[in-house]
């Protein structure tokens, strides 16, 4: 049957629903753009911000014609119910026992401090020690501690043992060459200085030569003092290091959790120190 082109009511039936959707999409694409984003934003925010009647009707109209958004809206509603059930998950029957076991070692120290019963002076000392140990424990727990210690140690080594030692050696060799006037032994610097000293001695008065020898003697004395200082500092350094190692061992022994009893199962995983 041939349809008359001037009858609009019949012309409308020529478009299938798919064609009508395609037409709407084409018009929206050339004008305001897709409304899906707006509709989904409103649907997603609905639990926090209820929509008014008009907006609800507009969203419902969009959902009626947009299959994709309708599927998302339906999934969202189903998921929302499931999300609330995720708030609590049973970790297992032994979890409580593990937590209580992990905290039981801390209970005694929390209730009765180790300085309780001591005189006030000693109590302050022990409390300070405990606080220092706890601070040290926190420092040890830092992730970049090893890097920082390595950096610090390198800087200290360079300062104490590196350049000053080289300076002291150079100073000592130069001074001994000057005092002895020995051109055969000692460094090249000492040899040059010895020769210079002989040359000067032949042309300048005796008191100038004596003054120079006095200066050289002072230099030698300073070099000896410097060598003594370097030696003493390295002794102190090694003694301090030994003391620190002893302190580490003591802190480690203090913070080690007590061994679990035969009836209680050991706590799962590492228990970190409190901060």
């Amino acid at each position: 049957m041939e349809r008359h082109p001037h009858q609009p009511i019949i012309c409308r039936t020529l478009m299938t629903p798919a064609e009508r959707r395609a037409m709407t999409s084409a018009v929206l694409a050339r004008t305001a753009g897709s409304a899906c984003q707006r509709a989904l934003t409103l649907v997603g925010g609905q639990p926090d911000e209820p929509l008014d009647a008009q907006t609800t009707a507009l969203v419902a109209g969009h959902l009626e014609h947009c299959e994709e958004c309708r599927a998302i809206e339906r999934t969202l509603a189903e998921t929302r119910d499931g999300l609330a059930s995720l708030a609590e998950i049973e970790p297992g029957v032994e979890f409580t026992a593990h937590v209580v076991a992990a905290t039981s070692g801390r209970r005694s120290s929390a209730r009765r401090p180790m300085w309780a019963g001591l005189s006030q002076r000693w109590a302050w000392t022990v409390a300070f020690g405990e606080r220092a140990a706890s601070t040290w424990d926190r420092v040890l727990a830092r992730p970049r501690l090893s890097l920082e210690l390595a950096y610090l140690a390198t800087v200290l080594l360079v300062i104490i043992i590196g350049n000053p030692g080289l300076v002291a050696d150079a100073l000592g060799a130069r001074t001994s060459g000057l005092v002895a006037g020995d051109t055969a032994s000692g460094t090249a610097g000492g040899r040059q200085q010895g020769m210079a000293s002989q040359g000067i001695g032949s042309v300048i008065p005796a008191f100038v030569e004596r003054a120079m020898r006095e200066v050289e003697r002072k230099q030698e004395s300073a070099a000896k003092s410097w060598n003594w200082f370097v030696e003493r500092t390295s002794q102190l350094w090694s003694a301090s290091w030994n003391w620190l190692r002893g302190l580490f061992d003591w802190v480690g022994a203090q913070t080690t959790p007590p061994a679990p009893s035969a009836q209680t199962e050991p706590a799962k995983g590492p228990v970190r120190a409190s901060q």
Binding site: L40, T41, V43, G44, G45, P47, D48, E49, A71, I72, E73, T75, L76, E78, T79, R80, G82, L83, A84, S85, L86, A87, E88, I89, E90, P91, G92, F95, T96, H98, V99, V100, A102, T103, R106, R107, A110, R111, P143, A267, K268, G269, P270, V271, R272, S274, Q275
Partner: protein, 194 residues
């Protein structure tokens, strides 16, 4: 019969061992859920949840009063979980939660058929959550799973409330899209094609 939260907290403050045990029992599900959301696998989640409880025990004096306790607990657990993630990321890459691991999570007391459905739904949601961006996942965990208000979410994440609102809305849509993509069947390969 459960103690009122205020009474329980007061007894915990006083050093009552039974109260502390009751406290652990009451909040272990919630804290383990938060730990699981961040850690992504049951073993790490148990360790993390235990660590959170130990930290809570050590800082008993800082506990707020009962009115704001649960949001504070969620925020504290979240912060410790983020620290844990940061430490773990420094050691190794995060592991993705598998369907089996997620399905093993214990559920409520339902009849067997409903429990199977609920477990399947839960594992699906977990998988979808793991696929979200970090920001969207965190928003969903705080707002929709643990039921914090938008104000509290904004405070914890240190963002304006308007941003929290828009992020939540966007995160819900992302989650729904991920669930849809997980449930949609994979297209079969074209016949005869290489």
């Amino acid at each position: 019969m459960q103690l009122e939260l205020a009474d329980l907290l007061e007894r915990c403050h006083a050093g009552d061992e039974l109260a502390w045990e009751a406290f652990v029992r009451r909040f272990q599900g919630r804290i383990y859920s938060i730990a699981y959301s961040y850690a992504g696998n049951p073993d790490d989640a148990r360790d993390l949840a235990q660590d959170i409880f130990v930290r809570l025990y050590s800082s008993k004096r800082q506990w707020p009063v009962a009115v704001g306790f649960v949001p504070w607990l969620v925020a504290t657990s979240r912060n410790l979980s983020v620290d844990f993630l940061r430490r773990r990321r420094a050691r190794t890459a995060a592991t993705e939660v598998g369907l089996d691991a997620a399905a093993e999570l214990a559920g409520g007391s339902l009849d067997p058929e409903a429990q199977v459905t609920a477990t399947r739904r839960r594992s699906l949601v977990w998988q979808a959550l793991r696929r979200l961006t970090h920001i969207s996942r965190e928003t969903i965990i705080l707002r929709d799973i643990h039921g914090l208000s938008l104000d509290e979410v904004a405070t914890i994440l240190r963002i304006p409330i308007g941003t929290a609102k828009s992020r939540t809305s966007r995160a819900r849509i992302e989650l729904a899209q991920q669930v849809l993509s997980l449930t949609q069947p994979v297209d079969p390969p074209a016949p005869g094609g290489w």
